[in-house]
């Protein structure tokens, strides 16, 4: 574990790059989270209260309910990949920049 005293946490927090990173990350993460929870809850709610719609056949015997359940897999994995890409190409890069910057300024994180 690093010793907290050796890193100037307050300075990092005051850094505008950190603030902008945190803002973008928060809205992206919680936005995706809200979409996932709402989309997921549509399945039990639909199955319980909109059964007529779920029973409509669209592809041979395949009905809306089955397609909707399958779409949950696609949407969930899609969100996972979307987040993963965004984090690797954007958030991680900025975070690495900030960390490297503060390490250079002498606020080196100590070794274990």
């Amino acid at each position: 574990m690093t010793t907290p005293a050796t890193v100037d946490w307050d300075a990092i927090i005051k850094d505008p790059r950190f603030q902008s990173l945190h803002r973008r990350k928060t809205s992206f993460l919680w936005g995706l989270m809200a979409v996932s929870v709402v989309y997921f809850l549509m399945l039990p709610i639909g199955a319980a209260y909109f059964q007529d719609l779920f029973d409509v056949r669209v592809w041979g015997v395949v009905n809306v309910g089955l397609l909707f359940a399958l779409s949950e897999f696609v949407v969930t994995l899609g969100i996972a990949i979307l987040y993963s890409r965004k984090a690797s190409s954007d958030f991680d890069v900025v975070a690495a920049e900030i960390s490297a910057d503060f390490a250079k300024r002498g606020a080196t994180p100590s070794k274990e």
Partner: protein
Amino acid sequence: MTAQIKRWSAAGLFTVAALAARTAWAQAGADTDYRWLTFTVFAVIILITMYVTYVAAKRVRSASDFYTAGGGVSGFQNGWAIAGDYLSAASFLGIAGLIALYGYDGFMYSVGFLVAYITVLLLIAEPCRNIGRYTLADILAYRNDPKKTRIVGALSVIAVSTFYLTAQMVGGGVLVKTLIGINYETSVTCVGVLMLSYVLFGGMVATTWVQIIKAVLLVCASLVIVGLVWVQYGFSFPAFLQGIVDDPRVQARVASLLGDPAKNMSALELGQRFLEPGLYFKAPIDQISLGLALIFGTAGLPHILMRFFTVRTALQARRSVVWAMAIIGGFYLLTLFLGFGAAHSVGPANIAAVDAGGNMAAPLLAQYIGGGPNSLFGNFMLAFVSAVAFATIVAVVAGLVLASASAIAHDLYVGVVRAGKPVTPEGQVRAARIATLVVGAASIAIGIGAKGQNVAVLVGLAFAVAASANFPCVLLTLYWKRCNTGGIIAGMLVGTIAAVGLTLVSPNLTYPRAVKAAAHKVLDGEAAKRTASGEALASSDADVVTKAKKDLAALDKAVAKAHADIDKWGDATTSFMGLEEPLIKMKNPGIFSIPLGFLAVLIGSLLFRDRRAEELWNEVYVRQNIGLLVSKSTAH
């Protein structure tokens, strides 16, 4: 412990496992000609995992090796290990069974289990990697009073793990008994001893590899079965489902589930109904409540959280969740084919006859696909799926025991009892091994003692406590500045009490009055049914006679069960909690207990201000956001 002792003990444990397998061989119920095959497949899989443990044991030198495999697991490997930890026997055999018996509703479970990982991916995995070290309580103790939060955190971990572990042990014991014919106590002991040998000697290194091996075997076995099932329909999805709709056995199953309303439906309408919701779930609110417990509970399961400490960086933690989601999602898509395939090939009634919960759907389908009960390949497939199921139970139990042992040794012993008095690295590993032994022995005892307990109640409890206590505490200490010791203690207590309390007054428990009323109803209807079947027996139509014979056999069974129930409950009128009937209608308390848990953390934090927690917030805030280089430095 010297290498020599380790080697000898490993050899000893292997002998125990081999003996257990021999007992299975000697006592197996069916397929006497193929016992050798079952024995060989089990032995091969156990041998492979034992070899891995033997190699791993050499690498376990420090507490970090024991708890987190020294942080040396890659994201891809960890993804498979998470899948191995998550695809418990209950989920893979249970869900395939639910789909085989109830159609569409069973598949809704699969969806919930996958979506659960979105919460883990977006909110939990990376900050945990950046802040924690070995256990869930590490995260809670980071900026709060270390002693107090470690105690409540460790207790909650032990509670959740015990519920989950007992469920796995009971379910596993029954399963092994059904699959290979050894008695319940022996199978629980086998699972326990084998699991202990992995964890005790190989720690997290061995546990991780056992989980990876098991997950790969499970996915491969399912792919082969699904391929063989689906190829008959030219890999067409609608054609496959058309086969289900047209199946008379599926139609008969729907008719028996629906009762009277089924009388006016055509055969095709009945078959189609199998693909529509509502055959299993009756109360909509229950479904939603269960969904919430699944998607928030998974993020609070200690053995899942612990897996994020085995990778080096937040990037690897993220990769491992995405891999895990791809594997788990792919697998749960296969359950649709396993379940429907079993319904079509084996028949829902035959599946329910072997095990009322449908747990045998996948193994029976494997046997059928391989060529049936009298073929070599069919029995090989059955043996293989059974062995994978056995490995599954052992691997999941290993993960749970490791989580509880780390809570006892790392949080309670090193963090609280010996607080301020550093424990040597050897001492830490010794404490971890002793705790493992104690937890392992306790799990065997609990497994045997809990024989016949309702597995669904226990799994529900584990998820409910994880979602209502662990999840709010972990989430708020990571994301809310004002969160502090008071909030954590209040949240853990209120969340746990609400989840356990509501479950104890829910319809999940057995209510003797209702059971006896149902039994009397069966007995009252007996005479009428016998007359009807008797008349049918005299019919000249061979089909009608066969059906009547089946009905009579089923009736005999139901009557015997009714008598047994009445004898069993005697004069009892109240449940274990002293209630005549459930206080709440819901089986899953999540929809109430999760908000209560969050509320308790909020109120507790605001009532008891804690300067230290707020001063340390900046550090937590920075670390959870840009843990990248900081965590790299901790890994040196």
